[in-house]
């Protein structure tokens, strides 16, 4: 694009600064040409596509890792080239930055032209109207002034300019559809604003997920530590989160007879702002599609599941009870899997403690079916739930400094023989297992948990505003039509009074369909009467 025309220059004028300026100007022209914008649009479409075809880290990190592992050098190469982070990749950003530059470069002169054309009067009536694409002519008995008067009334809503010509003729030039260009500029500026607001949003937003037991447990937006996972924007360090608290009182799911979910409801209470000091809780019914909006943040009900309660009675009579969420492995039947871990009470010696830690792992079936001793679930609702558990004793590896999943035990401890299975049994509610050392484990029942997401995005309302501006502008720029209309009324040559009326028309956009419209208006202008459609 820069190579187009470099006229042969006399050597003495070929100074370096000049060449730099020329290069800059040519680059700018190339970049802001419609053709380049078109290519950039294509590149943008092409570059966005891998994001739909390949797993993306920001959406699903484990799946991305699996994909890379499964595809060897190819996966690694794609990863290096940022194909798993398409929308934050250098190449994607480069394309859209270029498109922005191109957009600005093309909007600047257009805005200037626009301002000029908004002030300008409709163009002079051409001398020879019959050369226009649309033309009608007819004699009238009314006077020039009368015809012009009526035409002016008919052209209400058009921008008009009247002129007098030699020989007593008068003309009106009229133009309509200026809003088209307004709409077009609104659309493009809206797009510019949207991109900027979107990018700012990526810097100042955050999103955090947390699981809360639906038994009156509380969650407070105090800091990153309160979350199970937290994705901050580039400019968020987690120290200045807007404080609010949520208390999840209950959760219920409704299902059809075919076990299809139809409603999830979590009655919660929350406090923010002054309520935090006064300890006032406000009620809210949290549902899918209706997040809690408070303190500039939104709280969503994302998921739900079950938490079995186990009570361990140690040989010395001490009791420990825990209710921990297990992970739903089958969304259709809510079969869950997890690990509830216990530290022996009153044991201070680290070595001894590491021989006596307990883990209850296995499956939880809300509506159980046992076939050949194997437990499955047949429905997602709680209906005499059962668990099938392995009890493991020994060293859970909690002191090893490695973080471990709350849903499973550290398998390397089992492989090393430091964590041994000491029992395996199916339990209904209130049933228990007694271990060889007299420890008793009772399955007390099942509670519910919900997973909540807290989202913070200070710019999203601006994004919405710009998007609406874009949409309105788009509608105007595509659907409004620019039309020109001229009428010339001259005294008839015969000198017996009466006039000749000429009407010419030009469609500046979207010519098709102007024919009929022109004929109708021209007819009314000539006859001076309003016609029914």
């Amino acid at each position: 694009m820069t190579s187009t025309k470099t006229p042969p220059k006399p050597a003495y004028r070929d100074s370096t600064p000049r060449r730099v300026v020329a290069f800059g100007r040519n680059t700018w022209r190339g970049l802001t040409s419609m053709r380049t914008a078109l290519m950039l649009l294509f590149l943008l479409a092409l570059a966005a596509m891998p994001g739909a075809l390949l797993p993306q880290r920001s959406l699903n990190a484990p799946k991305t890792a699996d994909y890379i592992a499964a595809h060897g050098w190819w996966g690694t190469l794609l990863d290096r080239l940022q194909f798993f982070d398409v929308y934050s990749s250098i190449w994607f950003s480069a394309i859209y930055l270029l498109l922005m530059v191109s957009l600005v470069g093309c909007l600047t002169p257009r805005t200037r032209d626009y301002v000029r054309s908004m002030r300008a009067k409709p163009v002079l009536t051409p001398r020879n109207l019959s050369r226009m694409p649309h033309f009608l002519q007819a004699p009238r008995t009314a006077s020039v002034d009368e015809v012009i008067e009526a035409a002016r009334a008919r052209l209400k809503g058009w921008r008009i300019a009247e002129r007098e010509e030699d020989g007593g003729a008068r003309t009106i030039s009229a133009e309509r559809g200026y809003l088209r260009e307004t709409g077009n500029l609104l659309f493009h500026f809206g797009m510019l604003g949207l991109i900027v607001a979107f990018a700012l949003g990526k810097m100042y937003s955050y999103e955090g997920q947390v699981i809360v037991q639906a038994n009156g447990s509380e969650f407070c937006n105090g800091g990153i530590y309160a979350y199970d996972s937290f994705n901050p924007g580039l400019r968020v360090d987690g120290t200045e989160l807007e404080p609010f608290c949520v208390k999840v009182n209950d959760f219920s799911a409704q299902y059809t007879p075919e076990n299809q979910p139809v409603a999830y409801l979590a009655p919660i209470e929350y406090q923010s702002g002054a309520d935090l000091q006064n300890n006032v809780w406000k009620p809210y019914l949290l549902e899918v599609n209706s997040p809690l909006r408070t303190a500039g943040d939104r709280v969503y009900l994302l998921g739900n599941g079950y938490s079995p309660t186990f009570t361990v009675t140690y040989p010395n009579g001490e009791e420990r009870t825990q209710t921990i969420q297990w992970a739903t492995t089958d969304p259709a039947t809510h079969l869950a899997e997890g690990a509830t871990k216990f530290d022996p009470p009153g044991v201070t010696d680290a070595v001894e403690r590491r021989t006596k830690q307990l883990a209850i792992t296995g499956l939880l079936a809300p509506t159980p079916l046992v076939q050949g001793g194997v437990l499955t679930s047949v429905a997602p609702q709680l209906d005499n739930p059962m668990v099938a558990v392995d009890v493991l004793r020994g060293d859970l590896g909690l002191d090893a400094g490695r973080s471990q999943s709350i849903f499973s035990v550290d398998q390397s401890m089992v492989d090393d023989g430091r964590l041994k299975r000491v029992a395996r049994q199916n339990l209904a509610v209130d049933e228990s297992i007694t271990l060889d050392d007299g420890t008793k484990i009772r399955f007390d029942g099942v509670g519910k948990w919900v997973s909540l997401q807290v989202s913070h995005d200070p710019t999203q309302v601006y994004v919405l505003g710009f998007a609406i501006a874009m949409f309105v502008g788009l509608g105007a720029s595509l659907l409004i039509k620019r039309r020109r209309m001229w009428i010339r009324v001259s005294p008839a040559d015969s000198g017996e009074g009466g006039t000749v009326v000429q009407v010419g028309g030009l469609a500046r956009t979207d010519q098709a369909g102007y024919g009929e419209e022109f004929n109708r208006i021209a007819d009314e202008l000539i006859s001076g009467e309003k016609r029914k459609k």
Binding site: L38, L41, V86, H134, F198, S290, L478
Partner: protein, 328 residues
């Protein structure tokens, strides 16, 4: 919300019958199309007609004859004309049944009938046929109807066999008035986009033939002139594009309250973005020297291909928030 099995059954029957009637209409249109003389005559007529539409023919529009002087119609041409009209009548009948199928489905499940892929495609094809009938009133392109009905019949056949989903209520995430707004916009836009898609494909054949009359010599002369096809494609796109934009916009607003963010590069969102950019490129290409005509038509076809990809590949192959196809 129990499902009314009887109504659902009637809906299925209506749908199947509508498909069969479209197929019959398709055959009628192909017969009309195959009358060589007639096809050429229709193409000529549309060429004259478009001169009038564009208004570029001469200084005065009012005085120009709209129809060419009626040549003494041969018996064969008269029969073709009748068959073509019957095709249109059949299409209208099919459309009525199609509407019944959709309405009954909605009544059967007591909600808006676009909660899964089967219902979605049922609605998209309905809009496609309806917009085609609308185009027929404005442009002399009846003998193209076969090309329009072909993808419709294929889609409906695939829909009724492979994608069929029993009537059922929808999951909580879909229980929102945004379902009506967002999905309706997407349906209407997709249905209307089908018209420029088909017109642009025909355009490629016809313009290749106009450049080199030896190419597609048998088939292309029966198509309307390239500028009619171009105009049909443009007018339909200009209507569908803002609708599509509106649909994407509403999708974002809904995503904000359903999924926790208004835009997250979910596969369906990404592909909608790509389609949007491609159609924007189409609109720009028509204002760019050297890109009008064939290239613009190609871009429009790519746009429609992306829409189809979004419907099938993204629903059936990838997983994302939009995995509501109901084909678990």
């Amino acid at each position: 919300m129990p499902v009314n099995e009887t109504l659902s059954q009637y809906s299925d029957w209506s749908f199947t019958t509508a498909t069969a009637i479209y197929l019959l209409a398709l055959v009628f249109f192909l017969i009309e199309q195959s009358f060589g003389v007639k096809g050429r005559r229709a193409a000529e007529r549309s060429a004259t007609r478009v001169r009038e539409l564009v208004g570029a023919g001469g200084p005065s529009t009012a005085s120009e004859p709209v129809e060419p002087p009626p040549a003494a119609p041969s018996r064969e041409a008269g029969r073709a004309e009748r068959i073509g009209r019957m095709g249109v009548a059949l299409t209208v009948l099919g459309l009525l049944l199609h509407v019944c199928a959709l309405v009954l489905r909605g009544l059967a499940v007591d909600r808006w009938p676009w909660g899964n892929m089967y219902e979605y495609i049922m609605a998209v094809t309905l809009i496609a046929v309806a917009s085609w009938l609308f185009v027929l009133r404005k442009f002399p392109v009846r003998h193209l109807s076969g090309f329009m009905l072909l993808p419709v019949v294929i889609l409906m056949f695939v829909n009724g066999t492979l994608l069929y989903t029993v009537a059922a209520p929808v999951q909580p995430a879909l229980q929102s008035y945004w379902l009506v707004i967002h999905v309706s916009a997407a349906i209407i836009a997709s249905g209307v986009f089908m018209v420029p898609g088909v017109a642009s494909i025909c355009y490629l054949f016809r313009s290749a033939h106009e450049r080199d009359p030896r190419k597609f010599a048998k088939f292309a002369p029966k198509l309307p002139a390239a500028d009619v096809l171009d105009r049909v494609a443009y007018r339909a796109t200009v209507l569908a594009f803002p609708l599509f934009t509106f649909g994407v916009l509403c999708g974002a607003v809904w995503a904000e309250s359903a999924w926790g963010r208004f835009w997250g590069w979910d596969p369906k969102e990404t592909t909608a973005f790509v389609a949007w950019v491609v159609y924007a490129a189409y609109l720009h290409s028509r204002a760019t020297a050297g890109w009008r005509g064939t290239r613009a038509a190609l871009i429009n076809i790519i746009g429609f291909a992306v829409m189809v990809f979004n419907l099938f590949f993204v629903n059936l192959v990838t997983t994302g928030f939009h995995s509501y196809a109901g084909l678990g």
